[in-house]
């Protein structure tokens, strides 16, 4: 029991991390795309747990709302739309592009490892409350995100709205019934 309470955070971390990776493996091994999507949902939930564990509570909540909520709905709709449920059950597990995928995975992993190392080395007095500080006061993660984002990252924040706008207009153009036939214009017909 003493061991459990002393290493509580580490134990929770490893449980969440193992489950998150297991979910990721499930995504690429399940034959049924809906099962893959549910597996991905598991990964999203575990990552949200990891964020909360690291005292990035706001990010954890966003992970739940946007990924487990919105993005998941999007994925399920896409599965429904493109009819991948008819995928042949004996489709090849590894495609010819597998080496490329492995390469990009390794590069991405190395980048993250580098980022973590650089972050932990160059972090002046981080500590447990580093993500909850507002002007030297410990407030809360949401407050800290709000302060940092809206005080110091004005331009990136406004650019986010442009990115969202592009996504929205792009989806509307793709969703038009005559997409690609007549170019532009025209209301969507039922």
């Amino acid at each position: 029991m003493a061991f459990l309470s002393a290493h509580f955070v580490a134990i929770v971390f490893y449980v969440l991390a193992v489950l998150a990776v297991a979910g990721g493996v499930g995504v690429i091994t399940f034959k049924n795309p809906v099962h893959s999507a549910l597996s991905l949902l598991g990964t999203f939930l575990m990552v949200a747990g990891l964020f909360v564990l690291r005292h990035a509570e706001f990010l954890g909540a966003v992970q739940l709302l946007v990924y487990a909520g919105g993005i998941m709905v999007l994925f399920l709709f896409v599965i429904m739309l493109v009819n991948v449920r008819r995928l042949s059950p004996d489709a090849a597990f590894l495609s010819r592009r597998a080496p490329l995928a492995v390469l990009s995975g390794v590069v991405f992993g190395a980048l993250i490892a580098f980022g973590v190392l650089a972050g932990s080395l160059g972090h002046p007095g981080g500590g447990a409350t580093a993500l909850q500080m507002v002007q030297g006061h410990v407030m809360g993660n949401t407050e800290a995100v709000g302060w940092t984002l809206y005080r110091h990252f004005l331009v990136p924040f406004e650019i986010v709205s442009v990115v969202l706008l592009v996504a929205m207009i792009g989806a509307i153009i793709f969703g038009r019934k005559d997409a690609g036939l007549e170019g532009r214009g025209g209301r969507m017909e039922p």
Binding site: F8, V9, V52, F58, V62, L65, V66, G69, G70, I71, V73, L74, F77, V78, M80, L81, N83, R85, R86, V134, G140, T142, E143, V145, G146, W147, L149, Y150, R151, L154, F157, E158, V160, S161, V162, L164, L165, A167, M168, I169, A171, I172, F174, G175, R176, R187, M188, P190
Partner: protein
């Protein structure tokens, strides 16, 4: 970590509620399944005869994308709202610009008829 105990209890209750409900229902109901009962049914909608061969309208995708975009927009309002006092007028103008840009998208979606279903 102690402040998460209520969340843990809440999660456990939320998980056990459907399990208990289903188990209770299984105990009290009479089971006599037949082919008609097992058919998929939705009120007012003609169900496809085979579950996997139906094509769905691209509109579902459009609605999902619009949902995600406005979901993210709302997320950005949360940290702004909790720091509203401190950010003062600067933060207010910042958010107005943000919302104004997205309003362009909303009006575009509206004018294109992307929000109409029928």
């Amino acid at each position: 970590m102690n402040q998460y105990i209520p969340i843990l209890i809440f999660t456990l209750i939320a998980i056990s509620f459907p399990i208990i409900t289903l188990l209770l229902a299984k105990l009290v109901r009479s089971g006599s399944p037949n082919a008609v009962k097992a058919e998929p049914y939705e009120c007012g909608v003609k169900m496809p005869t085979t579950a996997y061969d139906t094509r769905f309208s691209i509109r579902y995708y459009l609605i999902a994308v619009l949902f995600v975009v406005f979901d993210v927009e709302t997320i950005f309002l949360f940290p702004w709202a909790v720091m509203f006092d401190k950010l003062a007028l600067f933060g207010f103008i910042e958010m107005v610009v943000f919302l104004a840009i997205l309003l362009v998208g909303y009006i575009y979606a509206w004018r294109r008829g992307a929000l109409e279903w029928a």
